[in-house]
Structure formats: structure tokens, C-alpha cells
Point group: C2
Chain length 145, copies 2
Amino acid sequence: MRIGELARRADCPVETVRYYEKEGLLAAPRRSGSNYRDYGAAHLERLAFIRRCRALDMSLPEIRALLEAIERPSAHCAPVDALLDEHIGHVAARIADLTALKQELDAIRAHCAGRRPASACGIVETLSRPAARLARRSSHVRGAK
Amino acid sequence: MRIGELARRADCPVETVRYYEKEGLLAAPRRSGSNYRDYGAAHLERLAFIRRCRALDMSLPEIRALLEAIERPSAHCAPVDALLDEHIGHVAARIADLTALKQELDAIRAHCAGRRPASACGIVETLSRPAARLARRSSHVRGAK
DNA sequence: CTTGACCCTGTAGCGGCTCCAGGGTTTGCA
DNA sequence: TGCAAACCCTGGAGCCGCTACAGGGTCAAG
């Protein structure tokens, strides 16, 4: 099948398929006479796996490591479990960070009822002060927008 | 004061100060004879404000809008409140997303006790299946790493 | 007079795409 | 058979918010 069909079936933009190939996550398929990529069922399975992991917010290096752990001939569960545990840790940490952040934002928001000039606004005031610092963790999982 | 001192006092890398200037968040200061940037107290206040907003995970466009809302001569609280409410919404949405994500990850993790070859691992199995799709919102707030 | 700390500009890189320009190929229909 | 639309190709730029160079200039202490 050609790239368009593969992409449709895996629910993934065509450009992203080419990007995964360039990044070495998806094997380069053979080419047709007109230099079109020609994929088989194995490619689709693999791409679907990658997309599923991305939907779970794993980074591409994490997914790469996961694929390698699975494809080693003598492959055992343990490394897979470890990778997943680590990722769950990232997600949990990010939730904790954002929860603390939201509390702080709610507290700031409570400083104003919207009926004053900005010069007297409690929010502007609060944002100008040094304020308690959140201990931010580092994590690959993205923030809030 | 020169850029190094400003940066130290606002707890912000020097390169980031120059970046904010390039992005129009921080006014360009006057220059010394040797072309060094020369900042005053107002610059420090503004930079500290920006850093505080960044610590609250606001995007630079959000901060820009906030600064504009505050500095309009006839400035009123309402737009500031609205901006903050919107940002709080982003954070809340991201927390909800990540919480659903974590539940899914926990469920997947429960499929394996680590004593089997990867070919028989419930995790690998689960990651290969189509699976219920999370409805992902769009938000500027970052994910989980 | 030299060493080191500081400053300058400009450019490239990070992740994970996304989009564009500028081409070639295939497909369906008149 | 001709033609348009839909598909495919490569390569490069852009998104965000920095961060890290390279390759220079300036300044203060010893």
C-alpha cells in the first residue's frame, strides 16, 4: 500500500510517517517503479503501535527504547515494564506539578473581583511580588496549553 | 546595571533576557559607551513580572497580552481577570487530560507481572491493540516529561 | 601586561511535528 | 486520447521558549 493509505489506516498525517522513517522508528519500505513508498501489513502494525504510544504521551526516544526492548530476540518483559513505570512516573510528576500550579493560580485569581482599575488590582499586585516558588521537576511530558 | 546583574537579580539566564528583548517583552535599554545594555529598576520589575508569569506556565503571547492589558492607560481589571481565567482553564484541562492518561497507563501496566517473554507480555499486547481513544484537548501547557 | 570575567552579535539546535515550494505520477472521466 | 484532480516525491523553513555555541570586544584586579 502507498503512504496515503497507510497514513489513513493508522490515523496519522503523511508527513509524520515520513518523519518517523527519517528518525528510524519506522523501517524504510521498498519503492515502486515511480519511487513511491510501498508498505506492507508489518509497517502498518508498527506505525499503529508508535501512534498508540504517542497517544500515551511517550517521547520518541522512549518509544524507540520500547521497540528495541520488544524486538530483542531473547526479549523479556522486565525492561518493558521498567520503561512503562518510568513513563508513568513522568506523568504522575507532571500532574502533581500542575495541581500545585493550579492552586497558586486560583489563589492569585481570588485577589480580584474585576471592578477596580488595573493599578489597584490584586492580581497585578500579586504577579509583581516575588512569591513562593514552585519546585519544578523536569519531565518530558508537556505542560498545559 | 548591566545584563549580568539584572539576570542574577531576576533569577533568569542572560540569554533569556536578550531573547525577551528580541521578542518585544522587555524594552531595549540604553547602551553604555562600550555598547553594553544598561538597565534601570523598571526593567528589573518588568523582568521579574515576566519570570513570575512564566513560572505560572503562561505562554509568552499570554504574558504579552497581560502586559498590554495592564499598561493601557485606562486599564481596568476585567481583561486581566479574563486572561487569568483562560490560563487557569488551560491548566485544568491539561490536568484532566493527564489524569485520564495516567489511568490508562496504570491499566496497561497491570497487564504484566514481568515474568514472561515479551512475545507473551500483556503490555506489548495492549499497546498493539487499537484501544479506546482519549479525547485530547489543545492547550499551550506542556505535557509530562 | 596578562588573566579572567563579563559583554556583544548571530546562528544553530532541541522535540515532534506541520506546512510549503516545486516538481513527478497515477487515476478517473469525457 | 486528453486533461484535471488527487496523489506522491524531496528538501527546507517554521512553531515555542529557550539554550548553547562561535568568534569577537571590554573591563577590572593582580
